[in-house]
Amino acid sequence: MVRLGLTGLLPIDWASFDYSNPKIRRIFGEAGEFGLGRQGLTIPIRGRGAEVALFSVNSDLPDKEWADLKKEQMRDLQLLAHYFHQMVIRVEGGQIPHYEALLSRREKECLQWAAAGKTIWETSQILKLSERAVRLYLDIARHKLDCLNKTQAVAKAVALGIVESV
């Protein structure tokens, strides 16, 4: 699984493993004794420096609920996985990125209007962009600022002086 995760791109569902294989049954059996749930998902991560990482989540939900959860939450799980990875990189590397330099003009503009309390739709009207574009630029800004959500990203941008507080 680790090899598949470190070299692949698609999320890996532990349910896909061959549980008729006694080795696999033993691993998950032992893991179960330590509280590991029956359901699991591993999300591969590729980073800025072409580094690779894995993020796994675990659950005890029954199969149907798990399948539904996966479908609804996969986007959020991707965001969470990448956020976690960036935090780890920060802690390990000890280097704080030069955030301002990472952001483009568009991203700063979208952040600035968000800081001013404008909705995505309002920002799209002001900047003459589509809502999708505004949403994407805010998401990119959030990702580059190592934040988990937009509110956090705006607050950080203000704190760093990248945008003016309004």
Partner: protein, 212 residues
Amino acid sequence: MIRLISGSHRADFPREIAAMHEIRKRTFHDRLGWQVKTLRSWEIDEFDALNPLYLISTGPNDVVNGSLRLLPTTGPNMLADVFPELLPDGLRIESATVWESSRFSVRQEIAAERSENLLNRTTGELLSGIVEVGLIAGLTEVVSVYDAMFARILKRANCAAELIGKPRRLGDVMGYAALFEISERMLENLRKAAGITEPVLEQKSIERLAAA
């Protein structure tokens, strides 16, 4: 049908991988005359070394009809590292839920086949395949750089492309950078345009990559 092959498994699928690189060379180097690297009868570049996810369209008797590759925008990709000039003001698309599609190519003999108002079958499969993969992986968008000819194909596919920045000349070619929504609605539009009535991703591929 679309077979998913992880770049790291290329040694397990020598036939498909070889056919893919050959079709890519015939398309991008021989036919379109683009500045791409070739190695004998293959077109292959440094992004293939990053273990992309390849979508390989196969026909009867497992013949390879076309392919494309996907890379996450959080890592190295063509738009950020080869065509940054296409994006305005230093914009860099970098998001956990956006992947990039590149090297979309279809075998020449197949490319011309098209019934009535429908999109070419292989093209339709590849485009649908991207969305099916995107839905599994939780993506919001796929980004891609393409030329005017492909822009026309996208129109015929009813595949809404949202341009990022303005199209620009890249050498002899007009380059477009655009976003494509990953959604059930997009999938429906593509299927209808191509006359596809069921999922195109090979079930065995999904199981092999444990994406079920």
